[in-house]
């Protein structure tokens, strides 16, 4: 299966948003995709009479999502990296890691 190209593996330090990445044993990223936070703290609302959507906070944020990563022999973990789950905007931090092999 073909995957989208990786986003830059360097130069995003201190930036905000959400991405997931594949890391090696030393913690270095091997593949990274910037995506919208799949655990939606706020949602987009579309009204028929307003051309731009608007936003509303979600009471109980949850999300189901898939993360496609390449099958690399040196890969150890998938890391989810996110800004704080609040309306405030802050730098991305790791929020969860998962071993890629059982």
């Amino acid at each position: 299966m073909v995957l989208p190209p990786t986003d830059p593996l360097e130069g995003l330090e201190g930036q905000a948003g959400f991405w997931y990445e594949l890391r090696d044993a030393a913690g270095s990223p091997l593949y990274r995709r910037i995506v919208r936070n799949p655990i939606q703290v706020h949602i987009e609302v579309h009204e028929a009479d307003t051309p731009s959507p608007t936003r509303r906070m979600v009471d109980a944020p949850q999300g189901v999502f898939t993360a496609l990563v390449p099958d690399l022999p040196e890969a150890e973990v998938i890391a989810l990296c996110s800004s704080p789950f609040t309306k405030a905007y802050g730098p991305v931090q790791p929020i969860a890691t998962f071993a890629v092999r059982g």
């Binding site: 905000a16 919208r36 987009e44 731009s52």
Partner: protein, 318 residues
């Protein structure tokens, strides 16, 4: 349940695969869903830049029959109180918001994964004429006029990691605390806090040296000015990413700012870069007989113009 390839450009393993599923279609209504899914595929393929990436894209539809037509529309949000038993449990009033049409995302992704394991994007069309939709991992939209624009906007988020370019949160004239974007750079490719022409992340696409290209004179409000530049001008327009000031967008307008608009050049580049690996290389063209030059300078105009044409070719590098 049946999976049909609506647009077939090759094996799913090597193509970018869009899966369109329906909810609130009874068995007898599945032929209508087939038409609706075809319309979505047609619209996508007529939308730049997807129109130039067509050979890398497959579109699948998954026929899923529901017990009832339509979607839940609870009275708690002002709806008529419709209760429809549907496969993906489509309902308005998600999060208590009237037009927020949502489905069971877990079930939708599960069915999509069983039908097309190599899916890149999943959409669910809900069989109701009431306007509505939501984004997230699955783009959900109704059959109302222009509701398919919701799908294209949400696809920008889900499949390509694009940010919202609008400068409002709850609405222009409503927001009281969205004056200034925090001084933290968003990682997303189409919004920035950087207004320096030499360092701005889309500097390779700038078509004006006036950076910022527009400023919002009153950061307590949405910027009311109309575009001072020609359509297609790439610069840095203040007002983006839910804030009136301190954040910039690449063009005055874009589908990630306002539904019904084309994707801006920066968003188009992101889409092209993402899908490019799925586009098969063009077969080499057969050699053409070369006419003899009429004089030793006969080819000069061609040589002079060649770089201009080369500069117009789409480029796929980051």
């Amino acid at each position: 349940m049946r999976t049909v390839k609506v647009l077939d450009n090759g094996p799913a393993e090597v193509r970018w695969n869009l899966v369109v599923m329906g909810d609130g279609y009874r068995e007898a209504e599945l032929p209508a869903f087939a038409q609706h899914a075809q319309s979505v595929a047609d619209k996508l393929m007529a939308t730049p830049p997807f129109d130039q990436l067509k050979s890398g894209i497959n579109v699948f539809r998954v026929d899923v029959a529901s017990t009832d037509s339509g979607a839940d529309d609870p009275t708690t949000c002002g709806g008529p109180g419709i209760v429809a038993h549907t496969y993906f449990d489509a309902s308005f009033c998600h999060g208590g918001i009237e037009r927020a049409l949502q489905v069971d995302v877990g079930t939708a992704l599960q069915v999509a994964g069983q039908s097309v394991p190599q899916y890149a994007m999943v959409m669910v069309m809900v069989n109701t004429q009431t306007y509505g939709g939501t984004g997230g991992q699955v783009a959900v939209f109704s059959l109302a006029a222009q509701a398919d624009e919701i799908a294209l906007h949400e696809m920008g988020h889900t499949a390509f990691g694009l940010a919202d370019e609008y400068e409002l949160w709850a609405g222009c004239g409503v927001d009281t605390n969205h004056d200034q974007h925090q001084p933290v750079e968003p990682a997303y490719p189409n919004v920035t806090t950087d207004s320096n022409a030499l360092t701005i992340k889309w500097r390779d696409l700038l078509t004006t040296q006036q950076i910022p290209t527009t400023r919002n004179a009153d950061c307590t409000k949405c910027d009311p000015q109309s575009s001072p530049v020609a359509l297609g001008t790439v610069g840095a327009f203040e007002g983006a990413h839910y804030y009136h000031c301190g954040a910039y967008r690449p063009e005055f307008n874009c589908r990630m700012r306002q539904l019904g608009q084309p994707y801006c050049a920066v968003c188009q580049k992101r889409i092209i870069v993402t899908i490019a690996p799925y586009v098969p290389p063009r077969p080499p063209e057969p050699p053409r007989p070369q006419p003899k030059p009429r004089s030793r300078f006969g080819c000069l105009p061609t040589l002079l113009l060649a770089p201009m044409f080369l500069g117009l070719r789409p480029h796929y590098e980051n």
